[in-house]
């Protein structure tokens, strides 16, 4: 557990140093919302379905934008070698990287997205449901992102490859996440969708750290 917190603290220090990348994601989120509002015209604020869809799209795309940051510096600066030389558990490293990425990049987007819903006059219960669903979706995405980023970081066309690989894996949680939000908006039961998201997250949590560790080893060797 101590190693996990040491690695998290290392990652958070690094993210703090590249704060502009996180702000870049937030700016990207704002741009998508503004462009959606401008292109839909006055119907945007009157059509809650459009707002929900846009905010979900913007949140997921903004979180994907910085996935390549997860391992880029490690392979560029050689700290990936350091982890192997110090016999660091690569599974714990993957979990620490996923958690730190979520805590910095994803949480900032989630906060801004929730405020956007609040400004648009959505109910508190709806926003609470959105917070739970988007947190589960982005946590899942962070786990997937760590494995794929380890495979593609610092390679030619790595960012493009990462984006292409991450989207098919993200579609199921995004479908259930948006479906949960629409149900919550209409006052319907959301437990099935939330349970699916929790199940999907737990499944990946119990398998992907090992896949990520194998990916890191493959890249270094």
């Amino acid at each position: 557990m101590k190693l996990f917190f040491t690695l998290c603290s290392f990652e958070l220090t690094r993210y703090y140093a590249s704060l502009t990348d996180i702000l870049n994601s937030v700016a990207f989120f704002a741009l998508i919302i503004i462009i959606s509002a401008v292109s839909a015209g006055p119907t945007f604020t009157n059509n809650d379905y459009l707002v929900i869809g846009s905010i979900w799209t913007a949140s997921v795309l903004s979180c994907v934008l910085t996935l390549d940051l997860i391992f880029n510096k490690d392979f560029r600066e050689g700290t990936a070698d350091l982890f192997i030389l110090c016999s660091v558990s690569l599974e714990i490293l993957s979990l620490a990287k996923a958690f730190s990425y979520w805590l910095t990049n994803c949480l900032s987007i989630i906060t801004v997205a929730s405020f956007t819903f609040l400004l648009m006059g959505f109910k508190f219960e709806f926003i609470l449901n959105f917070l739970v669903c988007i947190s589960l979706v982005t946590l899942t995405m962070s786990l997937i992102g760590v494995a794929l980023s380890a495979l593609t970081a610092n390679s030619r066309n790595g960012t493009l490859l990462l984006t292409i690989l991450v989207f098919p894996m993200m579609i199921p949680p995004v479908i259930f996440g948006t479906s949960s939000s629409l149900n919550a908006y209409n006052g319907l039961d959301v437990s099935n969708e939330v349970l699916f998201l929790i199940g999907f997250f737990m499944l990946l949590l119990s398998t992907l750290p090992w896949a990520s560790a194998a990916a890191i080893k493959t890249r270094i060797h």
Partner: protein, 208 residues
């Protein structure tokens, strides 16, 4: 002598892409022995050193260590490796980086404190960010890691690169002390250094 380890490389085959670097290569390095791997650029010196440090996979062969009449496969905690590009996190300060390195290092015995290793290599600004360091300062910081933990086998890839004369002398003294303690040193260097004659020379081009 502090260490009594013998390193054995048995039947090593090393290939990078289509290039065969070594085939069925055997080498025994005894306690207190130093090896200098030489050869032209691109002949595979770094690949060989990274393989001994267990960073690269070997195609065939075994890396064994014998200590107190017990032979075991070479493990990471017996090796201190310094690569030709310093593996330094640029967003951390010197002190933060060495503390992080100390905290994540598993299975090695502490040797010098961070303060002592910094003072040995004459680094006086522990709060300075790594990204603001010169190439020589980065190399000195990288070499500080050698002194933080005990390991009988030192693998140094171009350790004299970017070092000033004074730092080069400090490193030479540290290498000599390590050899006196029964340690093993395997290095590559295009530069000449003091007491080079004590190093057994291996030319990769001649072997392959």
């Amino acid at each position: 002598m502090k260490y009594n380890h013998t390193l054995e490389i048995k039947g090593l085959k090393l290939q990078r892409g289509l290039k065969l670097i070594l085939s069925n290569y055997n080498l025994t390095v005894n306690a207190g022995q130093a090896i200098k791997v030489s050869g032209p650029n691109g002949c595979g010196k770094t690949s060989l050193l990274r393989t001994i440090a267990r960073l690269n996979r070997m195609n065939e062969g075994k890396l064994l260590v014998t200590s107190n009449a017990e032979t075991k496969p070479l493990s990471q905690n017996l090796v201190n490796f310094i690569g030709h590009s310093p593996s330094i996190a640029s967003d951390l300060s010197i002190e933060q980086y060495l503390k992080f390195y100390s905290e994540i290092t598993d299975g090695k015995v502490k040797y010098h404190s961070i303060e002592d290793s910094l003072s040995i290599f004459k680094i006086q600004t522990p709060l300075q960010l790594n990204k603001n360091l010169s190439a020589g300062q980065k190399q000195r910081l990288s070499l500080c890691k050698l002194l933080l933990f005990e390991a009988p086998i030192w693998i140094l890839d171009e350790p004299f690169n970017s070092l000033d004369v004074e730092s080069q002398k400090i490193l030479e003294i540290q290498i000599e002390a390590h050899l006196k303690n029964g340690g093993i040193v395997i290095l590559t260097s295009h530069q000449s250094f003091n007491k080079e004659e004590k190093f057994k020379k291996i030319c990769l081009e001649q072997i392959s």
